[in-house]
């Protein structure tokens, strides 16, 4: 058996080096790479200027900002950043955002994966309808449901608790998750499943031993999407969380900026710091996020 595979591998190898020549070469009358570089530079400056304004502004004093609103810090002050970092508010809100984000991600992935497995690999009456119910969730954005959703959460006694944010976020993340994961799970070859059954693996055993591992790339993508959505979420926490101790970072930024509305420099420092985790997270998983978004859109 091993001998056969080795031979086929060797047989296949001579074909591998034959590459399609100049796959990426563009047509003849290309208006030029130079233009592309110039435009890209201009666009990137436009994209980053407001971000730079926030970050650099945090290094200035209010006096500097008043006398020259668009200038650079002279001298650079780290006081604003130190104030924010040593005060408890920022870290408590980072903690709340982290808890909400991780719990939302975990819940979305676990519930979404289980449901997607059934929708992808079981045949039963009503499967199409079930898929349609979840997919139709895309048509119900949270904005529309927010008022009654608040009432449901209030009746469950979950206002001012992170659970009141986490559960709806899981529910609203499920449609995208299922739409991304179902094709993924469907692509797992039937032979693999049959082989597992022959070896005495039950359907559930197959799910826990094989499916979870094989669908890792899709799981990571939906997990990241759920985490970023939760991290940036504003409307739902605005309705559910009124106690400043439970504020997540977006609510915290807004509360901070109205509380210290005259202390512009400190607001800028707080805002810059709150943006940092998302940017860090994004640069770590950039490839997957971009891939996941395009995958999600293409369905």
């Amino acid at each position: 058996m091993t001998a056969v595979t080795e031979r086929t591998r060797q047989g296949a190898s001579p074909a591998a080096p034959v590459r399609t020549p100049s796959r990426r070469r563009r047509g003849i009358a290309d208006p030029g790479r130079g233009v592309a570089y110039v435009v890209a530079a201009v666009v990137i400056v436009a994209m980053l200027a407001p971000v730079a304004f926030i970050v650099i502004g945090g290094f200035r004093t209010n006096a500097q900002i008043t006398t020259d609103p668009s200038g650079f810090p002279s001298p650079w002050q780290v006081g604003n950043y130190l104030d924010v970092l040593t005060g408890g508010t920022f870290w408590r809100q980072v903690g709340n955002s982290l808890i909400a984000g991780l719990a939302t991600t975990l819940g979305t992935v676990v519930l979404g994966l289980m449901a997607s497995y059934v929708l992808a690999r079981y045949t039963f009456t009503g499967r199409g309808a079930l898929y349609a119910v979840f997919a139709a969730g895309l048509m119900f954005p949270m904005t529309v449901a927010i008022t009654p959703l608040y009432l449901v959460i209030r009746d469950l006694g979950l206002t001012n608790s992170l659970a009141g944010v986490i559960l709806p976020q899981i529910a609203f993340a499920l449609p995208t998750t299922i739409i991304i994961l179902v094709p993924f799970l469907r692509a797992i070859p039937d032979e693999l499943e049959e082989a597992a059954f022959l070896d005495g693996c039950s359907r559930l055993g197959f799910f826990f031993r094989m499916v979870v591992r094989l669908s890792m790339p899709g799981v990571v993508t939906v997990g990241i999407l759920a985490f970023i959505a939760s991290w940036n979420s504003y409307l739902l926490p605005l309705f559910i969380l009124n106690d400043p101790d439970t504020f997540t970072l977006p609510l915290g930024v807004q509360a901070f900026s109205s509380q210290y509305s005259v202390d512009t420099a400190r607001v800028l420092a707080f805002t810059a710091l709150s943006m940092l985790p998302a940017l860090l997270f994004f640069s770590l998983f950039e490839r997957r996020i971009v891939g996941g978004l395009t995958g999600a859109v293409k369905g």
């Binding site: 047509g27 039963f124 079930l130 971009v290």
Partner: protein, 339 residues
Amino acid sequence: MTLRESGTDAPTGGAGHATAGGDAIASPPAAASAVRRGAARQRLEIALLVGPALVVFLAFVVFPIVMAAYYGFFSWQGFGPPTDFVGFRNYLTIFQDAAFLDALRHNATIVVLSLVLQGPVAIGLALLLDRKLRGQSLIRVLIFVPYVISEVVVGTGWSLMLQGNGAVNDLLADMGLGGAAQDWLADPDVAIWTLLVIITWKYVGFAVILFLAGLQGVPEELSEAAAIDGATWWQIQRSITLPLLGPTLRIWAFLSIIGSLQLFDLVYIIWGQYIAATAGTSTMATYMVANGRTSGSYGYGNAVAVVLFVISLAVALVYQRFVLRRDTAGAVTTAGGDR
């Protein structure tokens, strides 16, 4: 070998052990009961696996929307069961309220101008960047940065920059363009354009990334063949690339339209709930929050939610019927079809 055989039997609920004669000559009743038991087992598995997701989804997505439709018929302050049934009065009030009609008009403006402003810019950028460039992935990441930053940060940063004595006006003065300085946020003639610039800044990167992904699906051979036949770069883009990018463009436009109709965060953060109306940037969603929850009229707020939903749904269905129909893939299309 024997090991494997017993293994085969396991998933069918051990029915094989009962029929000692082996798999091939299993007596009909036993086989039928095995099938039935298998079916029961499968139902149990399905319930176990789908159940939690379905419960959460029904409780926090479907149920609130059903309740919104119900509460919308009451005048209700949100405490105790609603008793003051008012029929369609809330809906009449909504459509007679000039503030709501203004908000609706702003939403319509944002829908149209988002497409008009972001579409061409994003297509141009995607076509320009769809070639081998040094630092290619860095360029893409940097263009995408505003999309990743939360609306709250974007709103806070921009509103500080755009204040009357803020950085933007100061920069204009430094460049000798002091005359172009504006009251960017409060002037009703200017504010909606300010909002559109911020929206474009925040979301155009998403469109570019989407289009770049779509361009990956356009076969190189076609444009190469056209180039050999003497087509210019512009002709190739217009007659080959753009039509083949069609499905991506249509999906993007759909997402953009729905997003514009639901716009809330940016407006609420930059303009607050009351100033938005006077600055001419209020949307249906900010109207809903200001006149529903904030003023304690939950019945009315729910009615606004229903109107917002019906408008979004109608737009989505019309769009799918006439624009997306050709692109078979896509879950939204499937959902619409099974309706």
